[in-house]
Symmetry: C2
Subunit: 71 residues, 2 copies
DNA sequence: ACTTAAAGTTAAATATATTTTACATGAAGC
DNA sequence: GCTTCATGTAAAATATATTTAACTTTAAGT
């Protein structure tokens, strides 16, 4: 299908937030560690709800955490 | 499961944009009319990619189109 | 009254996101 | 060398998003 154009800064944000682990982030967001892994590595596009929760954890807006490059 | 807390302003934005129809928005975004309907009525949370595309059509940020109220 | 276009709804099928489980790797500390 | 912890990977199962198709309703125009 379409190459996924959405990049993210989750990894940087995690380390910036006292080296928060994927496991910790997963628990704060309410998903599994593998889901965080997949999103962090841009394996697929998360739901808007999960994206909002991730942004909320870091106190940032979605646009600051995820970068969409239109086609 | 969890009550979906994400509201949106798609309907207002459509009428504000020269009364753009659901069908037209669907074509611009690259999804079906039913998908736009479901998202507009908050039946479920769209993928981040679709959310970005909708925001892009209206020239707004995701946070302007979708309002997440943390639990 | 008739027609048309847009919105609304529903059900079944398909695609994709998420979970669960399990195992592998690399770095750090002892 | 051994253990522990975080990360990475993968396959199968489940949940959810999206499509397809069909039908209903409502409003507007003629």
């Amino acid at each position: 299908m379409s190459a996924l154009p959405i990049k993210n800064k989750i990894r940087e944000l995690r380390f910036f937030a006292e080296e928060m682990t994927q496991q910790e982030l997963a628990e704060l967001v309410g998903v599994t560690r593998q889901t965080i892994m997949a999103i962090e590595k841009s394996k697929y596009s998360p739901t808007l709800e999960v994206a909002f929760k991730i942004a909320e954890v870091f106190g940032q807006s979605i646009d600051e955490v995820f970068q969409y490059e239109s086609s």
